[in-house]
Symmetry: C2
Subunit: 437 residues, 2 copies
């Protein structure tokens, strides 16, 4: 894992750009990467600091960076971060350290300040061109709760604790936070009907996940040993794996979800690095007595010691009625990424264990993260027990599944005594009417 | 469908380039697109004619093309065909007609001949950068035979005749014919063992499929009506969906195949156009009495009348011992693409029916094509009844699943009285040892 806690985590340091001191998500201890554009310029790489964005291409042009850091900044001066992520961990770390120094010390402020733009003036874009998107199923409380709806006596399938279950998702329909999407049409079979019908999904759901952006890839036919897996991870985001439960129920056997999921997947705009998350790594939750130990290709002592991430997660809902009344979003549930059964290193090592070639800019989802407590479930399917229980929203409205105009927000924050808390920025998506059926 | 049979199918015409007359796969009536390179030049678009390849960029530079045809040729002068396919059907058709005229008439031979290279001097590449790869399950005899291995009394799941079943595959590991691949490692549970083990797959299989290359795409949130679906198809190839049956058995529930399939998918190098296949389109096989009619979004009278493709398919095996003895490959089975339950237009319309955005260069597989007769099965899983029956190869060797060094070839030919037969060129892949486990 080689988790390094260094001066970039020093809680005494603050960034000098506007809004950096005390910023809940983007203090100088975070420095996540993203792709932004302003009115007059094409999309390009930046780093979030407080309420501003540092333009990496402009910074490279100042001559204030050298060596690996300069190389990484130049590679980020493109419409996607794929090239920078392909450089691997060392240049990325060097760039973060260099920027930490420049933003926490006013010595070069006169040359750095012109590289800053106000986040409010920028449009965020997908950080990478997604080559392949894979979604795992590592949230054991989700897998158990969903399994229980179908198999009350045997909720977890026998393979679950041996094999990190995953499937391929659709790369083309991954969109960045703030992009609306249409309710999918599809074949569904309402209770009591003999044959399927075609129309807008009536059971539209969200799924709360952590996303993993791949850094350096591997060649086809070459596995990634688990000890090397962390070096292949460029960073993390929040991921909403929107799901049409009624379409899913009809189509998923025997080959898994397809049209129930591939109409849209939303990710948060900023890529939070493993370096920024280093203070928040924790021991992988102990496997309950009787659980099988991971096979050797999934076992690494360092990963077990600090492979989990203590990251508080929250899902919010803003309905059209709430928006019209000026009300704030309501919290639907809260969870934590440390509840995942497999570590992110295990997911990467498993994915490449058969020789499958991962590439920089690939996106992995962890699977839905639900808390052990049913109130902390990461989807409406679980919160409403398959749609049977209505959720009351406080303003008198109720929901079983999502209505047109509903906006779901995913939020994350990492806190630990002695360290400055960091966040991810929100992952927001809104249901905007239906695809024409 | 707007299937046009025109002068480009005239059996009296022959191409003047070497090897074109009487060529079993690439007579002047075919003219498939591909990406090739020679020693001294980068990969670029070409058209196969006999034993030669016509360089489309060079042809465009002669000034012999005009309008749509010239635009398509210029768009093909790149390392992939994505840009040309994105232009849609009209420029592609215009280019094929123009090239037919130039190659079947010697008037401009002096200017066209310098644009030809010998196929033997060229290396073929993947025709497109594959954005997303989707694999369907439209071979009903395969679905039935495989289902029978698990559920003898109820082989086909209830959704099969309503929903064109499909799942997302891995785009990064799609390779062109002639590329070797390594036997995957993975978790398997041999009979009689309590817990999974990790090691090289012992049940490595092939799957005989037709591949569909997407032409013009659709915007996210916009469906493709079935009547418009054929215009979104740029062409066809052969596709081998290599499968590790022992890995698949352990991992596929509940989310479908993952590491059992994503280590390699092989496609034939040439993209055979819908125009070249026009004479070989046939009526969709009548649904057996009692089968549900397709829902309206999958129903188009023209598609039903001529949506199937009469394309003879053949699988061959060449073992290391056969190679050493100078023996020819043996035929393992023969089938026909007309045995698919869903048409290619139905697959495209279904895929986009929920608003999923398809893009030019996307690849769809039909699913394994097996004949109604078990001897015409499109995989070893079926031919050996799940590995229980050994196949005798004629030279004394036997196989249940693939051994290291085995080479599988997929072959296709379309014939119809009154027309010149055309082929696809082979889809060949060889098992080359194991991924390090």
């Amino acid at each position: 894992m080689s988790r390094v806690i260094d001066e970039t985590h020093d809680p005494e340091r603050t960034g000098w750009p506007q809004g950096a001191a005390g910023h809940g998500a983007f203090p100088v201890q975070n420095l996540p990467f993203g792709i932004f554009s302003c009115v007059d310029r094409a999309p390009r790489g930046g780093i979030a600091i407080g309420d501003q964005i540092l333009d990496l291409g402009r910074l490279a042009a100042t001559g204030l960076l050298a060596g690996d850091a300069a190389e990484a900044a130049r590679a980020a001066a493109h419409p996607t971060l794929n090239a920078m992520f392909a450089l691997g961990a060392r240049p990325r770390r060097a760039l973060r350290r260099a920027i930490f120094a420049l933003l926490s010390d006013r010595r070069h402020e006169d040359r750095v300040a012109p590289c800053l733009v106000h986040a409010a003036d920028a449009t965020m874009h997908l950080p990478c061109a997604v080559g392949d998107y894979t979604d795992f199923y590592a949230g054991i409380h989700h897998a158990t709760a969903v399994g229980k709806l179908f198999r009350p006596d045997n909720p977890l399938l026998p393979n679950y604790k041996h094999v990190p279950i995953g499937y391929h998702g659709r790369a083309s329909s991954v969109v960045v936070s703030g992009t609306g999407f249409r309710r999918p049409c599809g074949q569904t079979k309402p209770a009591g009907q003999d044959a399927p019908q075609f129309g807008p999904s009536q059971r539209l759901d969200y799924e709360l996940e952590l996303g993993i952006w791949l850094g350096r890839g591997n060649a086809l036919g070459e596995a990634i040993p688990i000890a090397e897996a962390p070096a292949h991870i460029a960073g993390f985001c929040l991921l909403n794996d929107w799901s049409a439960r009624d379409i899913q129920a009809l189509e998923y056997q025997p080959l898994g979800p397809f049209l129930a999921k591939n109409f849209c997947t939303t990710v948060s705009a900023w890529v939070v690095t493993p370096e920024a998350l280093a203070p928040f790594r924790v021991k992988q939750a102990a496997r309950p007595v009787g659980d099988p130990p991971p096979l050797p290709y999934l076992h690494d002592p360092a990963d077990q010691a600090e492979g989990a991430i203590d990251l508080a997660l929250r899902v919010t809902l803003l309905t059209p009625a709430m928006r019209a009344a000026g009300l704030a979003p309501v919290t639907l549930s809260q969870g934590n990424a440390r509840d995942l059964y497999w570590t992110v290193a295990q997911l990467v090592a498993h994915h490449a264990s058969n020789g499958c070639n991962l590439a920089s800019g690939d996106l992995l989802g962890t699977g839905t993260i639900s808390a052990p407590d049913p109130a902390g479930a990461g989807s409406l399917l679980e919160l409403t027990e398959g749609g049977k229980t209505l959720i009351r929203l406080g303003n008198g409205e109720t929901r079983s599944f999502l209505a047109d105009g509903d906006e779901i927000g995913l939020h994350a924050s990492a806190t630990r005594p002695g360290f400055v808390p960091i966040g991810f920025g929100p992952c927001i998506g809104q249901v905007q009417g239906s695809v024409g059926c």
